[in-house]
């Protein structure tokens, strides 16, 4: 019992809130109205287990409750469909479930449903979240509202993993009946029911009248209008045709700021950052000195000012300054030092500079970022040969085919801080292009970060992980992006979160 409380509350206590959360509106929460959202991406699927895009979450959150929820400002875990959880021993996580929760098809959300969902997530051939559930060995129904998760190794990251796709509960009946069609016709327990999805056009959700929290939702429905051009999406909000646009660029914030009489603009830090991923499985980035040279050649402040108009936060590791798991003493580990970069290159046997193959995405905003980076590197004698293509293609070529030396990508962050290090530097990490095993001290720190249950011990482990990543220069982190949202003044109760993935569940529309 003590442990359970310890775990649920620790995150909240140790976490230093560094997100300025707008104070909730004092106005009476009005019921009714449809929230219209300019969504920049067509969902990959609406089944949380089979989909693969970070941009799907905005549509998934209203349809699916997660087993564990998170505090928007700190990402500390808080009760979701599971009202509490406890590690009864280091490899057993017991979840107590919320009673009287129904799926949208009227079936019960109980221990058997959770088992069915987690088993599907870790074994289904189409599951995209198997990687998140590597430590999960089996799921046992202990009681009607209690499940035990048996793990192959201690994994304290699991509660927050259950706040992501893996913890979104679908109706087992709907999965059995609809099969692949569940991708396009999903059934969850969330505050909104799925109604219709026209590709590249609209996703329509309506209020779930039987939602377990009788107070919510306030809205009658959410209409996502898929508008892939961000400028057009913003114009729709400025004209009052939609109420909300998200994932906007700093440049668009300036446009919206000028229209302050029509819209509200929210810009908050997130744990998503731009980074240069290296393939250090072969020359020339096999040599740590070359990787360090790149890190010294980069001017992170300059990048933040030029690419993000100064709205971002310069990054050293994948954990942002102010975040509970981040070691603040590392904030100036790599400074902009072209002389040192040249010296390191010379030591590595490249006195005349070096050529590297730089991969990136072909959209206009990415190209702008590439140009900044190419110029910064050039000043230290690093000549980047640029190659661009669609994001899915370049990502696959770099990560799976092993082409190129360096890729500029956006790391979208994960609720639990142990995930980034595992997914990016881990031997089988999807973002470890060279599939090079991480240094031994990193492996030890990774294990500690997942087996320690006290927040202080975890913090120490994360400090070691961050330091190892920096010393070995396994990537070059550039800057954390701001989460920029623009909405009409009648949109109330919106709370931005540190993940940078807006949740619309608690929004209401004022008169």
């Amino acid at each position: 019992m003590h442990r359970r409380h310890a775990l649920v509350t620790l995150g909240a206590l140790a976490a230093t809130p560094f997100l300025a959360v707008p104070s909730p509106a004092r106005a009476e929460k009005r019921r009714g109205g449809i929230l219209k959202v300019s969504a920049p991406f067509n969902p990959s699927t609406l089944d949380p287990i089979t989909g693969g895009l970070g941009s799907d979450h905005m549509v998934l959150y209203p349809i699916f409750d997660t087993l564990v929820d998170f505090e928007p400002a700190t990402l500390a875990p808080r009760p979701g469909l599971a009202t509490s959880w406890e590690f009864t021993d280091p490899t057993t996580l017991v979840l107590a479930l919320r009673p009287d929760v129904l799926f949208h098809d009227g079936t019960k959300m109980d221990a058997a449903a959770v088992k069915a969902n987690l088993d599907r997530a870790r074994t289904d051939e189409r599951s995209a979240v198997k990687g998140d559930l590597q430590s999960l060995q089996s799921v046992e129904v202990v009681g009607p509202l209690q499940v035990a998760l048996r793990l192959s190794r201690p994994d304290t990251a699991l509660p927050l993993i259950l706040a992501d796709r893996a913890g979104m509960m679908c109706s087992p009946k709907a999965i059995a009946e609809r099969g692949r069609q569940h991708d396009r016709n999903p059934v969850g327990t969330g505050p909104f029911r799925f109604e219709r999805w026209n590709d590249n056009d609209a996703v329509v959700l309506v209020r779930n009248e039987a939602y377990w929290d009788k107070q919510r939702p306030y809205l009658d429905g959410i209409h996502f209008r898929i508008i892939t051009d961000l400028n057009t999406g913003l114009r729709a909000v400025l004209a009052g045709e939609t109420n909300f646009a998200y994932r906007l660029n700093p440049q668009q914030k300036i446009v919206a700021d000028r229209m302050a009489s029509r819209v509200r603009v929210s810009s908050t830090p997130t744990i998503a950052d731009y980074h240069l991923l290296f393939n250090y499985g072969r020359a020339p980035l096999q040599d740590v000195r070359v990787r360090q040279a790149i890190n010294f050649a980069l001017d992170r402040d300059g990048f933040n000012k030029a690419a993000l108009l100064g709205l971002g936060v310069p990054a050293q590791t994948m954990l942002p300054p102010g975040y509970w798991a981040h070691d603040e003493s590392l904030n100036n580990f790599y400074t902009h030092d072209p002389a040192r970069a040249r010296k390191l290159l010379a030591e590595a046997g490249h006195p005349n500079g070096i050529d590297i193959r730089f991969f990136g995405y072909s959209d206009q905003a990415s190209q702008q970022r590439h140009e900044i980076i190419i110029e910064q590197l050039r000043q230290s004698g690093i000549r980047a040969q640029m190659m661009v293509g669609s994001s899915a293609d370049m990502y696959q070529r770099f990560m799976v085919q092993g082409e190129g030396d360096m890729l500029l990508a956006l790391w979208t962050g994960r609720p639990d801080p142990s995930q980034p290090f595992l997914l990016v530097y881990g031997e089988n990490g999807f973002n470890n292009a060279g599939k090079v095993p991480p240094p031994p001290e990193m492996v030890r720190a990774q294990a500690a970060s997942q087996s320690e249950s006290s927040q202080e011990a975890r913090k120490r482990a994360f400090a070691q992980l961050e330091r190892a990543a920096l010393e070995h220069a396994l990537s070059a982190e550039l800057a954390f992006v701001p989460g920029i949202e623009v909405f009409t003044p009648n949109v109330q109760g919106y709370v931005p979160n540190l993940l940078g993935k807006p949740k619309f569940n608690d929004i209401f529309l004022a008169d």
Binding site: G52, T228, T232, R235, A239, Q396, L423
Partner: protein
């Protein structure tokens, strides 16, 4: 309908076959050159090489390119445009759902182009080398040069965001809510129409100048006919074939330009569908749209040919 017209229709319908095959082969070939892999898109951000290979096998993408094309064509000739690789949805449904939105702005653009371009052309042709003519031809040159998507954004900024007269984005069904549909279509149609207005003005002006300076018009003047009667009864009748040809070209060009305009106005039409599908290399969808658009263009050309024979009986006698 006479025998000649029936023959014309028959031969035009036969033309559909090689044109569709050529168009789809070209599109298919071009899509192969575009980098990208639908399997990678489906597999998502954290896919393994095995999973991508599995998906490729499932979709038949591991088969030779020509075989993929032949399989697609085999289904298409039976009216089955197959399904999207990415979403698994039937292509024909998707195209038919979106086509009305695209046709509405294209047809409206054509109507605007004719309604504005024809009077301007007449105005210029009847006042050759006078200030009115100079102004009209200058505006027409600008109309040809201005990119329509840029003009679209300017129109939105002024008429939609500034004055609030029109919606900035989206579309509505013409059958369910005609007024709303027209207000949605107005700005995109106007943006699409500018090129057409300019084209019609210029072509009509030069054709009309030629006709009005011909010898029989001089004779008509000598007979004492009024300027207005010469223009309306003889001049315009003679340039109607030119006008018809230009209108056909303007329509086809506008249909192509919807790709950019639909993005600016967030219209769920075939143009935006092609863009979204091409970036994902979702070839059944791209092929399906091209297939349907080719049919429309050929149908329109046929209609224009038939109108030729109505307007000018000499066409039939040849």
């Amino acid at each position: 309908m006479n025998r000649r017209q029936l023959l014309l229709i028959g031969s035009r319908l036969l033309q559909v076959v090689p044109v569709v095959i050529l168009a789809t082969v070209a599109i298919f070939g071009l899509l192969q050159l575009v980098p990208g892999d639908p399997a990678a898109v489906i597999a998502g951000e954290y896919a393994t090489a095995e999973r991508i290979a599995d998906i490729r096998r499932m979709l038949g993408l591991d088969r030779p390119v020509w075989e993929q094309y032949v399989v697609w064509l085999g289904h298409a000739v039976q009216g089955d445009l197959s399904a999207s690789l990415i979403t698994g949805q039937p292509v024909l449904d998707e195209v038919l759902r979106r086509l009305p939105n695209t046709l509405l702005i294209t047809v409206l653009a054509l109507v605007l182009a004719v309604l504005i371009g024809v009077p301007l052309g007449i105005l210029a042709a009847t006042r050759v080398d006078r200030p009115t003519d100079r102004i009209v031809t200058t505006i027409a040159s600008l109309g040809v040069a201005v990119p329509n998507f840029w003009l679209g954004m300017i129109l939105v900024g002024f008429f939609a965001l500034g004055l609030g007269w029109f919606p900035t984005t989206g579309a509505a069904s013409l059958t369910q809510d005609p007024l709303r549909a027209l207000s949605h279509a107005a700005l995109p149609a106007l943006a699409l129409a500018t090129g057409g207005i300019a084209e019609i003005t210029r072509q009509l002006r030069s054709a009309l100048i030629e006709v009005l300076s011909s010898q029989y018009v001089r004779t008509l003047h000598a007979k004492g006919l009024s300027n207005a009667r010469i223009l309306w009864q003889h001049g315009l009748k003679n340039v109607s074939l030119t006008l018809l040809t230009v209108v056909g070209l303007v329509f086809n060009r506008a249909l192509g330009a919807t790709v950019a305009i639909e993005a600016v106005f967030a219209i769920p039409g075939t143009g935006s569908l092609v863009v979204a599908s091409a970036t994902n290399k979702d070839f059944p969808v791209v092929q399906g749209v091209v297939f349907v658009l080719v049919l429309i263009v050929i149908g329109l050309n046929l209609m224009i040919d038939l109108l030729y024979s109505l307007l000018d009986p000499r066409v039939n006698r040849r």
